[in-house]
Symmetry: C2
Subunit: 479 residues, 2 copies
């Protein structure tokens, strides 16, 4: 038994170790609203710990050195202590490279991500064979490593907040080790209906649902994902989740985001973007190069807009910033190549001497993507399925005018923004093209009125109160 | 208003027109248990009519000649009258080639089939754009042509039995033209859950569900498909189907099937097969080359069986008969090529001088496929999703020994056969390999006891009583 009254467990932690020019390790604080949102609560609880996985050889080396020192805490590694942001410690688990690859690439990103986003091509994928079973064994070991580390750190009666689809088995494993702790789990992805979830091998589907059911609080971004999880439990386990099944729709922290978005590198990127697009109306989108984000149909819809509404020729520019993601998976590389091909086709069909209809950047360019958000007149986000989608909320906060929003109804954010966005079926390219036209043509009063409401909704539950609300709910359930 | 008291409407009719050597048309009676099953009821009702589409230029020519004669009935075309099997007439609709292609290939087989079998690869397909909308307009025209033809033929108070996913809009269209007729519809495919069905454009999803809801009797093969249809209506229309939603699990007509399966051409094919396989145990499967039939994972499971259970080397032969289907769709051609590649790999890995582990025939060879059914010791059917799957029932009826059955739980037939088959998750290749081993290793008493029960279940509701049960249910509902 340990001394931590509050533990966060997630695959990626609040620190990362990167190589710098002289070959030394440098410790960087993780970005993103979620990290800073959790920090407040962690700092308020003395001896709180964030448990995460070492993501690469450097981090594994560091984690092993910490462990060899007789301590598993990074605060006792001199180079790291300075980088710890809040008043809490970090324990990085030196999970071996094979287990990590099996759990992270093989199961979390290639199986669970595909099931929960319904991305398979069922005539061919998934294939659950012996090779896949070895990866599943890695996922089980990875979850067990977390459960054991949590069990070792947790004080009597501690609160443990487990994050996301990488750690669906951990709540059950932890509960078997430590019946005294209070376990919350939050799933940041969507969930799938039973007819889809049952593609998984029977024992695996059972263990995943049962693993999550062991958490006292099971959180999702929307009522829709929570209902689908409950449907899976009812159909596949014959059991309904208890009162711990809850909905916490995360939104964005406007202050922190604005602070970053007005730094010098973003201002510089914005000047460059203004030179490119001039006074034209900008349809902006920012995504990872991720199959679920639906950039391909987004470009098809833009092409259909230009084909059917020539009045926009010369007056609009579609700016697409994609930061590379999961390039180790061949279907992701092929998808990105298809996006680049289609972008060239659109350019060939429509561009003129003085008009470039489409700007596509595939690069890890965070300042550039913030600049796109600031300059967007229409924010365009059309995933086929998305747990929440914070980018659309960030775009609303950062847009310098009154933005109109075209948003997939299959994103959790559609529940938050409702009809103040122009909602679309992401598979319906013609409807999406019509929605882009509607957004472009919206009169100023209407757009301003909607934008005012959208700005409120975009910051309804920022990370810190979102996390605190879960802690409160879990405390309530434990009484 | 016409004179027919009973009308069957389906894409494919009970007759087909083929070119014979001298260039003339020859009229052939359609095969299949369904045609003969409906014939009895049609023949019992004076002036009954079967309305179908002309499927090719020859049939369109014939249908137009019939119409030009002042009659739309094929019985008045001399060459055809002789071929009419029962005491009923056939009206073949000369739907123009473009409309037919749009409705049949573009919508029924490339959209509805994919939705209802959940076969899409959502990162890329479907794409509902302007091109697709033109195809949808063809599907609407095709359904309207049927509705109008039915309205013209139906006597006052007539009974109209509409078949399958080609004609989902026709019930609503017909009901608006003729409020006095009693409409039944039967869907031979599975149905999809609302989370999947809502991929369709909103108006299209609405019209399909509403079209079917207009039928007084809405029939499916299993309670599962009926429930999913009801879920779609509740989620997407806000409406629950009435008491007309019913389940009629079709089975096979043993007498008719056996008669055909002991004709000379089948006996000849069986002798050839016996020469090839000798005394070895045969795992037999017969399918169309259809994405949903899952031949690829079936071969992977057989490979895993041979890899993990070397005791079967030399003792088992897997005989796979595929008859070509939908070769005009590129994804079908690519899938078949992948099946052929994997078959060669298995042959390369395991075959010896005196043992061929796998026989794959891709050919339109009906006698050959009946021979496979007669010679099968293990019947293997593993579709990813299947309305019913009559092949597994036919295999049970025809197998000359006591067959063991390995069957996908995602086929409607799994509801009929239950645990007397070894049921598998079709995506779980390892489980399927273990099921093949279980079937091969099953002791004689167990296999005989199961086979006896399976033979009863396989003929529980043959086509004629299946169709009559629907007519009775519709009459009951109309009172």
């Amino acid at each position: 038994m340990g001394s931590a009254p509050l533990i966060v467990a997630s695959n990626r932690g609040p620190l990362s170790i990167v190589a710098v020019d002289d070959g030394d390790d440098e410790v960087r604080r993780g970005g993103g609203g979620l990290v800073s949102g959790m920090q407040a609560a962690l700092s308020a609880a003395p001896d709180a710990v964030w448990i995460c996985a070492a993501l690469n050889d450097r981090e594994r080396g560091l984690a092993r050195r910490a462990t060899a020192d007789g301590s598993a805490r990074l605060s006792e590694v001199p180079a790291v202590a300075d980088a710890l942001a809040g008043d809490f410690d970090v324990r990085m688990l030196p999970i071996d490279a094979l287990t990590f690859r099996q759990a992270y690439n093989g199961i979390a990103n290639s199986t669970l991500w595909f099931v929960l986003h319904m991305l398979y091509e069922p005539a061919r994928t998934p294939v659950f064979d012996q090779t896949w079973r070895r990866q599943w064994a890695g996922y089980v070991r990875y979850n067990r490593a977390f459960a054991e580390a949590i069990a070792a750190e947790a004080a009597h009666g501690a609160t443990v907040m487990v994050q996301d689809y990488h750690l669906l088995l951990a709540p059950r494993m932890l509960r078997e080790l430590r019946s005294d702790v209070h376990i919350g789990h939050f799933t940041h992805t969507p969930w799938a209906p039973p007819e889809y979830f049952r593609m998984l091998p029977d024992d695996v589907a059972h263990d995943l649902l049962d693993g999550l059911l062991a958490a006292h609080l099971v959180g999702f971004h929307t009522a829709r994902w929570a209902r689908l999880f409950a449907d899976c439990c009812a159909d596949l386990l014959g059991e309904r989740p208890g009162p711990g099944l809850s909905v916490f729709p995360l939104s964005t922290d406007a202050d922190e985001l604005r602070e970053r978005a007005f730094e010098r590198d973003v201002n510089r990127a914005l000047r460059g973007l203004r030179d490119t697009v001039g006074e034209r109306t900008v349809i902006g989108r920012v995504d990872r190069t991720e199959l679920s984000k639906n950039v391909l149909r987004g470009l098809l819809a833009y092409r259909e807009l230009l084909r059917t509404r020539p009045e926009w020729h010369g007056r609009v520019v579609h700016v697409v910033y994609n930061y590379p993601s999961r390039e180790d998976l061949p279907e992701y590389r092929e998808y990105t190549a298809a996006v680049e091909r289609l972008a060239r086709e659109i350019d060939d069909e429509f561009s003129t001497d003085d008009w470039t209809p489409l700007v596509l950047e595939i690069a890890d360019d965070y300042p550039g993507s913030l600049a796109v958000m600031r300059r967007s007149d229409v924010i365009f986000v059309n995933p086929v399925r998305d747990g929440m989608n914070l980018v659309v909320l960030e775009g609303i906060v950062l847009a310098e005018g009154d933005p109109a929003v075209v948003l997939s109804r299959e994103a959790g954010a559609a529940d938050t923004l409702g009809d103040d966005a122009v909602l679309v079926n992401p598979f319906d390219v013609s409807q999406t093209a019509a929605a882009l036209h509607e957004a472009l043509a919206m009169d100023d009063d209407e757009r301003a009125a909607r934008a005012a409401r959208l700005r409120k909704k975009a910051v309804a539950l920022p990370p810190a109160p979102w996390f605190q609300a879960q802690l409160d709910a879990l405390a309530q359930l434990s009484r």
